[in-house]
């Protein structure tokens, strides 16, 4: 008897349920566990206190990224508490036998950048990390989601997680990507439409012509921000783009053709039913800029900052009013009239080589506006080296950008890279929450091309009309 058509999520889920003991939540097997310095120390400490070991150290990969300085790596880390957290990760990895990509490792970088880059992330896998942007890895057709520290400890000890099966949400983006519009604009637009909680309880599968046409790194940008719509994870069915991307990477399967033959069975079957479907048109998307303090408070570059009074829902109205107060903006202001102090190109959303190429092509032959301080922080040591081989670092430096070492940096400002109070920043990162990039700092989320153009102009500009040199 043929089985009922299944979604990508169904297939990965069914394959990973170890058991569902009566009266308990299912135990889901976890193929890959990524670890960083901020959300792991208490988990390792828990293991130690209980006398437990890491069940499968070879399935676990660690790197310091959140706290690390992005200036000269040969200098000691100035902040003693950051240093302690990084030292603790080092000691824990040694004690429990976990592979660490340490600060001096050529492959160190943001955990969500190095996973795919090293081929640790593969289609059909379950992947977790004590970090909400783990959804990034779903771009390769895996089920990848963020967990808390107690769950990190659970995975370390058992290689499984207690999970109820999430619901499935198909987000279909029809039509082709308009010129000058990028994956970042697509995902910001989707979040604006779905709201910050539209995806709660769901795993989003992105489908449709527009999504299929994206390159691997652009797909990562889309999946990365699934959590900003509240979704548990985001995923995209693996295809030739995925298989070409992974081929030859350090941790890719040795018998690659056999792996591809397995992976080709993963995409959702025709007729598979999702719990919910939302359909959008790529043609409706213009370059996006956030104006508020959550990623759903977003609008097009050709629009104005909204008037809070225009929101029908009282929660939305008061949120918008609070946000504008914090952001120092008035309703009705044209987005292109918003002046900037800082520009940050980086983060697990937009710090890969294609992102840096896009930004560099905008600024080539231009200079950063005198009123703006701008920086580029590559997502990993590999991205940095690749960019330098292509001469992108020179393009950035000659335009007046700082060129830094890999890490999370000003995405969350746990290291010295932060905004001063009331400084206004165009950022390619994923969160514009109050104080995210520094207490009192004002963050506008944009694509790398939009950030680069804003750095040159000193205010937001519509990159669709940019004069490339």
């Amino acid at each position: 008897m043929p089985s009922a058509p299944r979604t990508l999520l169904d297939k990965i889920w069914d394959d990973h349920v170890v058991c569902t003991p009566s009266g308990e939540l299912p135990l889901l097997y976890i193929d890959r566990h990524l670890v960083h310095e901020v959300t792991s120390p208490q988990a390792f400490e828990g293991l130690r206190l209980a006398g437990r070991r890491v069940r499968r150290p070879e399935a676990t990969f660690a790197t310091p990224d959140h706290n690390v300085p992005t200036s000269d790596r040969r200098l000691p880390i100035a902040d003693p508490i950051s240093k302690q957290q990084i030292d603790t990760l080092r000691a824990n990895c040694r004690e429990f036998g976990v592979r660490l990509f340490d600060l001096d490792d050529a492959d160190q970088g943001i955990v969500h950048v190095i996973g795919p880059e090293l081929g640790i992330t593969q289609p059909g896998m379950t992947i977790v990390c004590g970090d909400s942007h783990t959804a990034t890895h779903g771009a390769l057709g895996s089920l990848a989601f963020g967990i808390g520290t107690s769950e990190v400890e659970h995975v370390l000890a058992t290689q499984t997680l207690r999970q109820a099966k999430p619901k499935s949400l198909e987000v279909r983006v029809e039509g082709s990507l308009p010129p000058g519009v990028t994956a970042k604009d697509i995902v910001l637009y989707l979040i604006g439409r779905l709201s910050t909680e539209g995806g709660v309880g769901h795993v989003i599968e992105y489908t449709g012509e527009c999504i299929r046409s994206l390159g691997m790194e652009q797909r990562m940008t889309v999946c990365n921000m699934s959590i900003e719509a509240g979704a548990r994870a985001g995923m995209i069915a693996p295809d030739a783009v995925t298989f070409d991307y992974l081929r030859g990477r350090d941790h890719a399967p040795k018998d690659y053709d056999a792996a591809v033959a397995r992976w080709e069975k993963l995409p959702s079957d025709p007729g598979a039913v999702y719990d919910r479907v939302e359909i959008f048109r790529a043609a409706d998307v213009v370059p996006q800029v956030t104006w508020g303090t959550n990623p759903a408070q977003v609008t097009g570059i050709d629009a104005v900052v909204p008037d809070p009074a225009a929101f029908a829902d009282p929660n939305d109205r008061s949120s918008a009013a609070r946000a504008l107060d914090y952001m120092g903006l008035a309703g009705g202001t044209k987005i292109v009239d918003i002046p900037l102090d800082r520009v940050f190109i980086g983060s697990c959303t937009n710090s890969r080589i294609e992102d840096l190429r896009a930004a560099a092509s905008v600024i080539r032959g231009y200079r950063v506006a005198p009123s703006v301080q701008a920086m580029v922080v590559p997502g990993s040591g590999r991205v940095k080296r690749q960019a330098e081989e292509e001469g992108l670092d020179r393009v950035f430096r000659e335009a007046g950008f700082d060129w830094r070492e890999a890490g999370c940096s000003m995405c969350l400002g746990m290291n010295p890279d932060t905004l001063a109070p009331q400084e206004r920043c165009a950022s390619t990162s994923n969160r514009n929450f109050e104080g995210r990039q520094g207490k009192g700092g004002r963050t506008h989320l944009v694509s790398p091309a939009m950030a680069a153009a804003a750095a040159v102009a000193g205010h937001f500009v519509d990159v669709r009309h940019w004069q490339y040199k």
Binding site: C19, Y29, Q85, T88, S132, I147, G148, N315, S318, F433
Partner: protein
């Protein structure tokens, strides 16, 4: 883990939607390597003025919320970062329950690991609780709620009573204060069988 059966406590009413974990515990306090001592940093940027003094305008600093252990908020509470430091700081400050119309998934899960009950009530019921908390405050008093995890109800002394839904396994773990890693390790044979069936080498220890 601290168990939870019933709890009666003062309500702190935080009338905001989309309270993210960056606000609950700002990043500068994530560098500690312990699970304890985070309460002093809870809502730090809202609770304290730049000079370090208490911000009198912030709800938690006002007399009706003194000694509060039940937090009332609007929808999508706990969105954003997965940091478990958020429930650690809420628990360390003294909160045992959070009531909101909706919660972000990771935060919701993290609560159960830390002896906090996250309670989803309808928007209209949450509205009613805000009204009651405000009325008590207007009379110079405090508002108390009673949370019963055995019966899955939340109630006050003036006739409000609603039941809430909670996964039965999570509920049992919380009622008994169970170590869920210990529970999962009871299934080591099934885990090993899964690994074998998927061609993974056996675990040596």
């Amino acid at each position: 883990m601290q168990s939870f059966t019933t709890h009666t406590g003062i309500v702190a009413a935080l009338d905001r939607a989309n309270v993210d974990t960056d606000q609950i515990i700002p990043k500068q306090f994530l560098k500690r390597i312990e699970r304890t001592g985070f309460g002093q940093f809870l809502f730090f940027d809202w609770r304290f003025l730049p000079d370090g003094s208490l911000n009198p305008d912030f709800e938690l600093n006002q007399p009706p919320a003194a000694g509060a252990s039940v937090l009332l908020a609007r929808r999508n509470f706990g969105c954003g970062s997965s940091r478990e430091h958020a429930p650690w700081s809420l628990a360390d400050y003294g909160f045992r329950a959070v009531i909101a119309p909706t919660f972000a998934d990771i935060f919701f899960n993290n609560c159960f690991q830390n002896g906090i009950v996250p309670i989803r009530l309808d928007e209209a019921d949450v509205d009613e609780l805000f009204k009651r908390a405000r009325a008590a405050a207007a009379n110079g008093g405090q508002y108390r709620l009673h949370v019963d995890l055995k019966a899955c109800t939340v109630s006050d002394d003036a006739g409000f009573e609603r039941s809430f839904a909670v996964d039965s396994f999570r509920r049992q773990c919380l009622l008994e204060g169970l170590d869920d890693i210990g529970l999962s390790l009871r299934h080591t044979d099934e885990i090993a069988a899964w690994e074998k069936a998927h061609g993974l080498p056996a675990v040596s220890h």
